[in-house]
Subunit: 269 residues, 2 copies
Amino acid sequence: MTGSELTNVKSPRVKAARRLTKRAFREQDRRFLAEGPQAVREALKLDGVPLDLFTTAEAELRHPELITEATLKGVPVHRASGEVIAELTQTVTPQGLVAVCRHVHVPLDALDEAVAEPRLVAVLAHVRDPGNAGTVMRAADAAGADAVIFTDASVDPYNGKCVRASAGSLFHLPVVIGAPVAAAVRQLKERGLRVLAADGAGKHTLDDVDLAGPTAWIFGNEAWGLPEEILAEADDVVRVPIYGQAESLNLATAAAVCLYSSARAQRVP
Amino acid sequence: MTGSELTNVKSPRVKAARRLTKRAFREQDRRFLAEGPQAVREALKLDGVPLDLFTTAEAELRHPELITEATLKGVPVHRASGEVIAELTQTVTPQGLVAVCRHVHVPLDALDEAVAEPRLVAVLAHVRDPGNAGTVMRAADAAGADAVIFTDASVDPYNGKCVRASAGSLFHLPVVIGAPVAAAVRQLKERGLRVLAADGAGKHTLDDVDLAGPTAWIFGNEAWGLPEEILAEADDVVRVPIYGQAESLNLATAAAVCLYSSARAQRVP
């Protein structure tokens, strides 16, 4: 524990962390905030990623193992008031733990090195809702994906809501940020992946396509799906079949269904 | 269009609608609010369900077909100010259309009559987050489920956030509210459905179980899953396999993966 409890939201240390709630400053500082015990626990597993940990006295009592872990790893722990923690989070009921982390993403051209033989990759193109994006990262991780790529027109994965919705998955698998769609698709094809665009206008349904081989899925915008030029770049456009009266699925649930269909086809004979 | 524009949030008509933002009044009046063009469109397909439609001048211009439809069906249309609409909705950016609807759910003991041969049913037990519950309804509808059952400890499906997340599906399939879990499970078993509890502690994974027959899925609470007594009532406890490092899936994405696995197994040879 360093020094006395931080109670002044205008103190330099708090201000330096608080600016990370804004995308421009996250990019400038190459840092972001991970909030809540789950995210902090996963961040602490990566050496050099958590740079500072802010905690309330209450959270310290509730999660002593995280404080111990941070201390062992040489991450400075700062006791802070609830008010200070609230300044750093966008949640209605903050859980009293916030870690300042350094960026963890990899550049698109380093992905080849980061993943030897990719078999399942999720690409988020024009996904704008941070909750959806985080939920897709979590589903991709659960389905055993090798990487997640955020294209240049997508939400910032370091957005607080996105980090929270990812439930730690942001720290689990290689994440690429800001890749131009065309470059990402070209690279994935070169690596031998079949690139499938998930879109309600697809000619084929999930049930008609063979998903046993290495596959990259492209997921589009919540409201208007994927633009023509991306549909054209894909090897195939595939829709989740709708058996009832619903017009469509929510983006994150559709992505989970696609990714798990691939995971199953790649594993179950 | 009836009368002049409603601008007073304290007018009796607005107050009568506004009280429906509270669960106790929804139950007392047996009415609820459906917000946005998609929900209003689906509500208008059911005779006698929409009782009043509030619209801003802007929304009227954007969705003239809905105003025409309401008028043809004898649903009174009330022009209202943006401020009045904002009073009736909990959205950050209301879309200017709110319908007062009568309840559409069916009692548990009327479900047998409503659905001749159920093959896929979703049961929400202790689901508390309205967004999750609505997303599960939408996924169940998309997967061709025959009914959705909210047990007595679950969120109110008429909650504004839940109606919105269901994207119209609340109006598409029979929804049971407030059923005791044990009674629901008994009835589903009597109808010949295999009752599967979706839980991370399941012995079997989705890939190990034969889902071709009539199936009811029970989904539990976001944080703590399903209680022992429900796990004991189920024919089997099944987990979505986790192939990566994620601890679990978000409730709604897990539900979508389970429901689509059933839908596929029941259709694809």
